[in-house]
């Protein structure tokens, strides 16, 4: 009990020393005119499906390998410990998340989405030495790939690639969606957005600052989805092209239902 408290205190003393470098995520504040929609579902761990705007998910399925962690056991991690304080640690393990779902759109069409996320952790900690880049997660591999196939146009498939979504490194969390000549990119940032789509004119004018994945198409922010679970919302430009709107909605679902692989 006391050793745990000593550990916590020693950590805060350790943090005070100027050993570390830390690069902040790129945060911006912008004013946009996107329409907000509350995301329903996910209020308890058993509810898989979510709904928002004119979209609704169905058939959310996860593969068994999602729940397995594969790692290398380093016996020195257990031996080089004094009063529960580690002198050194090597952490090496892999986590995966693989799932698929159908996204029904308002006009009766649907998109089929398959997704695989992969995290390989390779981190080292040395109590009495200056930390190397692996301590900051620079040797970690953290990416997500997905395909989004519209049911009505199977040849117009969107490919999604994203990196560092588990925030395992001190670099930006971002991704890209590509379909033929169309390209949508997204990044985590703070945006000043409409609070809700209330029927009252006054309440429609309220704005709030949100940490979101902001989607950019042709140099313009056209959509956003909350990063945080609490008060999760989705924003989309009213006049956005349906193809772009559907792709952003499917990606918003991926970013919402993905598991956090970095524990």
């Amino acid at each position: 009990m006391i050793t745990n408290a000593i550990k916590v205190l020693s950590i805060f003393l350790f943090i005070g020393t100027p050993l570390f470098s830390y690069s902040q995520l790129n945060k911006e504040v912008l004013q946009t005119d996107m329409e907000p929609y509350k995301m329903g579902g996910r209020k308890n761990p058993l509810s898989k499906n979510i709904s928002f705007a004119e979209y609704k998910t169905s058939n959310v399925q996860r593969k068994v390998k999602t729940f397995l962690t594969v790692g290398t056991i380093d016996p020195l991690n257990q031996i080089l410990v004094i009063e529960s304080v580690p002198l050194r640690r090597n952490d090496k393990y892999r986590n995966r998340d693989a799932f698929r779902f159908k996204l029904e759109t308002g006009d009766g069409t649907y998109l089929t989405t398959e997704c695989a996320a992969f995290l390989k952790v390779d981190e080292r900690f040395r109590l009495l030495q200056k930390q190397d880049s692996s301590f900051w997660g620079n040797r970690n591999t953290d990416f997500l790939i997905a395909s989004i196939v519209p049911g009505s146009e199977p040849l117009s498939k969107w490919s999604l690639v994203a990196s560092n979504l588990n925030a395992s490194k001190d670099v930006e969390q971002k991704g890209k969606l590509v379909c033929k000549d169309d390209e949508i990119s997204f990044i985590v940032m703070n945006l000043l957005l409409k609070e809700n789509s209330s029927q009252y004119l006054l309440e429609q004018k309220f704005t709030s600052l949100n940490m979101v994945y902001a989607f950019t198409y042709k140099n313009e922010i056209v959509g956003a989805v909350s990063v945080k679970e609490i008060g999760r919302s989705f924003w989309i430009k009213k006049n956005a092209d349906k193809k772009i709107r559907d792709a952003i909605a499917a990606t918003a679902v991926i970013l919402t239902i993905r598991r956090n692989l970095y524990q």
């Binding site: 900690f125 940490m211 970095y262």
Partner: protein
């Protein structure tokens, strides 16, 4: 005797130092009835007075959340295998009031929201129990001001925002708590745009006009500017509003309404109060 000594040692009232050039063209208005700004009582300053403040519920909801970034502290906690959870708090508050200057009236509807994320550390020690370390927050204050002016009715939108990101190079002994905080604000109508900037000041002035310097900068108020020219200052220290006397009546009451709304907020946007 002791009571006499205590009452004679009353601390002088302190004000934020305001530039002389602005002071020469501005009117100083002391605010009466503000208290700590959390009450329902109306406030008065200059020839402006507000109605009773109609407040909604000040609601806070919390839930365990996924990590949005890993702070330096968390990286060490991971190595030490200490139990920690990422918690997100969502705090919301609404209020409304009217303000008038004897001729014109403005209705103010305001919404305040703060989403903050913290790492909660379990120490298993009765003296330390749980520790929490703030990771980031997004604070926003949004208000709609409906101006029922004699010359022309208009609508003004007020937005104030600030965000914080935990950084390793922060100075834990910096009392301003502004390291890593981005702040800004805007007050707009169809015709006008007023930029709002927060002021962290070290220089104060006593009510007798003596200059006093704090050992460090502290959040002291806001300045309202148009094209980089200061047109109004809200002083938290002296509970005073300075306003340029040459402004039009419409702009004056819009600024008075916005200043009142800023002073009547209940949720704070500083780290110490996360």
């Amino acid at each position: 005797m002791a009571i006499f000594i205590l009452s004679s040692c009353k601390a002088p009232k302190m004000f934020m130092a305001v530039p002389e050039q602005f002071k020469a063209e501005a009117v100083k208005m002391s605010i009466a009835g503000l208290g700590n700004g959390n009450g329902k009582k109306g406030i008065d300053f200059g020839n402006y007075n507000t109605s009773r403040i109609s407040r909604g519920w000040n609601m806070t909801t919390s839930r365990e959340d996924r990590n949005t970034n890993i702070s330096s502290e968390e990286r060490v906690l991971r190595a030490f295998k200490i139990d920690r959870t990422s918690i997100t708090n969502n705090q919301k508050d609404k209020f409304e009031f009217t303000i008038n200057d004897g001729k014109n009236t403005a209705e103010v509807f305001a919404l305040e929201r703060k989403v903050s994320e913290e790492t909660r550390i379990t120490t298993n020690n009765r003296w330390l129990s749980e520790l929490s370390d703030p990771k980031n927050f997004q604070y926003s204050f949004s208000a709609v001001i409906l101006l029922h002016s004699i010359s022309q009715p208009s609508t003004w939108d007020l937005s104030l925002y600030s965000s914080f990101e935990n950084k390793a190079d922060k100075n834990r002994f910096d009392m301003t708590n502004t390291n890593g905080i981005n702040e800004g604000g805007i007050l707009t109508s169809e015709k006008d745009t007023i930029i709002i900037k927060s002021i962290n000041s070290q220089n104060l002035v006593s009510d007798k006009g003596e200059a006093r310097n704090l050992p460090f900068k502290m959040p002291s108020g806001y300045e309202l500017t148009v094209d980089d020219n200061v047109i109004a200052v809200i002083d938290f220290w002296g509970k005073v509003i300075w306003m340029n006397s040459k402004l039009g009546e419409d702009k004056k009451i819009a600024i008075a309404a916005a200043s009142s709304a800023i002073l009547l907020r209940r949720i704070h946007n500083k780290i110490a109060l996360v």
